[in-house]
């Protein structure tokens, strides 16, 4: 396979330069923590329940670009595809904390869980209460405790951001985010691998004409490897698996996210949207809101994921609530 050409400088500096780039793009709304690769809002409302997100880098805009008003208060950036260490998470926790506790929202990966847990223990020693909601929306795995966090993280972070902005207590914020987590399901498909920026090598191999349904954002295997098929057929397979999982039922009201994993065109996602709406319509599932774009990427992986989240009045209000960040502004 030919190497992927990347517009970078020294691979060792990627994370640091991305953070600088984000701070500059924020025009004063974000700052870098002095002693850790973490981003913080400059204008965290005093006394609020704080929201901290993070994980391995390389999935931009997830997580760091979702720091902003009505979204996360802080994000901790690990190396490419590697959880940040606990001391960095702890430093960001201390900086974000406004005395009402800190909610951690991140993806369910072994490394992240251990490191964030260690940070939470360190925070407890400082008297900062931490609660954790793991994003585990990927239906490709059967056991819920094994489920990875993928595209649906966007809706969970969006809702968590709005919930933490208005919550009177950490308990209250945690409860609504747990509800969002329990209502969210995602299925992905990859048609071409992304690469590790340090090496330019693809993270996995797909044969020509091959696609993999359920493949994870680091190339973890999915539920079915098959030949490339028409968009309509693929969409049907994916929606069926999603709907049957929660399950979503006739009369449900949902938001739908079509997430570009990197190199897929909006043209293709719009074609998928057309078919997805047709199928959901037939099943009596009402789509109240549509988001289409690159929300959680895996470098230049080609493919996409479909996320459905079942809405109630509270979740819908929080998803529609104003927020402000680099890729997603919605006032």
């Amino acid at each position: 396979m030919t190497k992927v050409q990347k517009i970078i400088n020294d691979p060792e500096n990627i994370v640091a330069e991305v953070i600088d780039g984000l701070v500059l793009a924020s025009h004063g709304r974000l700052r870098k923590l002095e002693d850790a690769p973490a981003l913080l809002r400059t204008d965290i409302e005093p006394g609020k329940v704080a929201l901290l997100v993070g994980g391995g880098s390389g999935h931009e805009p997830m997580y760091s670009a979702y720091v902003g008003r009505g979204l996360a208060d802080a994000s901790v950036c690990g190396n490419i595809f590697a959880s940040p260490p606990p001391n960095h998470i702890h430093a960001a926790t201390v900086a974000a904390s406004q005395g009402k506790g800190v909610l951690y929202v991140y993806g369910n990966y072994a490394g992240d869980v251990m490191n964030f847990d260690m940070a939470a223990e360190m925070a407890a020693e400082d008297g900062i209460e931490v609660r954790t909601v793991l994003v585990n929306d990927d239906v490709a795995t059967d056991k819920p405790e094994d489920r990875r966090g993928i595209g649906g993280a966007f809706y969970i972070v969006k809702i968590a951001g709005a919930a933490c902005a208005e919550a009177k207590s950490l308990d209250e914020a945690e409860a609504v985010v747990r509800k969002a987590q329990a209502s969210t399901r995602t299925i992905g498909v990859a048609v071409r691998a992304g690469s590790l920026p340090e090496t330019g090598e693809p993270t996995f191999e797909l044969g020509e004409g091959e696609i993999e349904i359920g493949l994870g954002v680091h190339g973890e295997p999915g539920v079915e490897r098959s030949a490339l098929m028409p968009a309509d057929e693929l969409t049907e397979k994916m929606i069926d698996r999603l709907v049957n999982d929660l399950p979503f039922r006739r009369g449900d009201r949902v938001a739908m996210l079509l997430n570009n994993l990197g190199a897929t065109t909006q043209m293709e996602l719009l074609i998928v949207n057309r078919k997805a709406r047709q199928i959901l319509g037939e099943k009596g599932i009402e789509v109240a809101r549509t988001d289409i774009g690159a929300y959680f990427t895996s470098q230049e992986m080609a493919g996409f994921s479909i996320t459905l989240i079942r809405l109630d009045d509270e979740l819908e209000r929080l998803i529609e609530a104003p927020c402000e960040s680099l890729p997603f502004t919605h006032r």
Binding site: G56, G78, N79, I80, F81, A82, S83, P84, P85, P86, N87, H88, Y109, A110, G111, M114, N115, D117, M118, A140, T141, D146, R148, L196, E198, T199, T203, G216, H218, G219, E220, P221
Partner: protein
């Protein structure tokens, strides 16, 4: 062959272990590319470089202080699963080494404590295709040979780790990024188990040497 290491000798053994990991970066990268995301070698090397610097700078009154220094350095610079797991291993081991020398008894206890700490942190168990499948048999072997003195116990632990790592080839991963690989992980050893082997082998060689 010394049956009881001083603080300085223990430090030398830990530096040798760090150097061995750093020298194996490529091998560990390959192993993690096969069943994970390919960053285990980079993460371990980053942690071990930091560990060497910290050992250089930080004064140590007990051998436990040295292990804790290594553990703290790894946990705060490696990142990923291995940062947490290997950091916890060294920190856990260090907690039970309150003396200013390291003997076979202390070595065996330290490995056992390290194992306990890793299991508490990561919830995995031997058989789940993780570094525990090298660490647990190593701890057992060290305990079994503790009466024969430190060099023998250390070598027995290294040998048991190597055999344990080899056995992970036949296991289906239950934890870490490789867990969702299912059957496709068969035939490939666990990268973290290889790291345990490299560390214990270098440790034993220094003691022997």
């Amino acid at each position: 062959m010394s049956d009881r290491l001083t603080v300085d000798q223990t430090k030398a053994a830990l530096v040798a272990a760090a150097d061995a990991i750093i020298a194996s970066t490529e091998r560990l990268t390959k192993a993690d590319q096969a069943i994970g995301d390919g960053d285990h070698g980079l993460g371990m090397a980053r942690g071990m470089k930091a560990a060497k610097e910290a050992l250089d700078k930080k004064p140590a009154a007990t051998v436990g202080d040295l292990f804790k220094t290594v553990g703290m350095a790894i946990v705060s610079t490696s990142g990923g699963a291995s940062g947490a797991v290997f950091g916890t291993l060294f920190t856990g081991a260090g907690k039970v080494l309150a003396a200013d020398t390291l003997d076979a008894e202390g070595f065996a206890t330290a490995l056992a404590e390290g194992q306990k700490a890793v299991q508490a942190r990561g919830k995995a168990e031997p058989g789940h295709k993780t570094m525990l499948d090298a660490l647990a048999p190593a701890a057992d072997a060290a305990r079994a040979h503790a009466g024969a003195g430190l060099p023998v116990a250390a070598r027995a632990a290294a040998k048991a780790a190597e055999e344990g790592a080899e056995r992970t080839k036949d296991m289906v991963a239950q934890f870490g990024r490789a867990r969702t690989l299912g059957d496709r992980a068969l035939g490939h050893p666990d990268p973290g188990a290889i790291s345990v082997t490299i560390i214990l082998d270098a440790f034993a060689s220094t003691i022997e040497g």
